[in-house]
Amino acid sequence: MSLPTALPRTAMQRRWTHYASPSTFYALAGRMLPWCWAIAAAAAAAGLVVGLLVAPTDAQQGDAYRIIFVHVPAAWMSMIIYLAMAFWAAVGLVFNTRLSSMMARALAPTGALMTLLALWTGALWGKPTWGTWWVWDARLTSELLLLFLYLGFMALQAAHDDPRVGDRLGAVLAIVGAVNVPVIYFSVRWWNTLHQGASVSLTQAPSMARVMLAGMLLMAVAFWAWSIGAALHRLRTIVLVRERGADWVAALPELRRP
């Protein structure tokens, strides 16, 4: 007797692994890109209107507080992208899936940029409120370490001609460095820092006015959408280069001679 259960199982397996193939994912990412850019643009426009025009001046910090509308989203993305990068690098290392490792590579430059922006806007916020551009406290130091982890990951990838060797070495660095992310996040609680505590957390009511929070969340959506779009765009380029020679790449309309 034949087993009818065999068919649904293979169908499900196919669905699971369908988008893990570089060719399918290349096409899917291409369809997702316009949505990422549109959401990023719309959320940024709305967030800037709310944050710069609607939200009132802060009683304590004056208008300097408006840096929060880019500082917090950039800092969030710097940590989230690192965790995503370490996750995909680990998946690539354990399951030997090429696309996962490519995803880790695609995330790194955007993560490094977000870290740089968090540090830059933090310095510009620190000067008028603390009286100094920089202080070696736990929050700032661990965020700086995050930047070096991103740069180390990218340098390691660039240093190896065999991309799979770079993938594996980068994965080890990314996984070990992931310890730093909770350190950044909880640093303001674990140590006495000059940096203020979280304005928004999962367990407590936000310590900021509704309209300010709305502006910040809109900007966070914009930074999320930008980061996803940038990573997908970079991933498509990486896939093209690394899968060169594959029939599906040669058949792409964008590769036809003009």
């Binding site: 408006r66 940029l113 830059w120 510009l124 008028p128 380029t237 093209l240 280069v241 790449v249 964008e254």
Partner: protein, 59 residues
């Protein structure tokens, strides 16, 4: 709306350097990233097209 004039908006309550320095850097960095993304894709496609050319086509 908090601002009564464009000058007041630009001055940001005396924190213009810090607020616009932050927003400007974000715009510049993300703009630069967008340019780099487009350039890298362009370069990759050009390279692959060059590879795809049969040897007898080459000048």
């Amino acid at each position: 709306m908090n601002w009564s004039s464009l000058e007041e908006f630009a001055a940001m309550g005396g924190y213009a350097l810090y607020v616009w320095g932050s927003l400007g850097m974000c715009a510049a960095a993300l703009g630069w990233e967008a340019v780099m993304l487009a350039l890298q894709r362009r370069r990759a496609i050009d390279e692959l097209r060059e590879d795809a050319r049969a040897p007898e086509d080459r000048p």
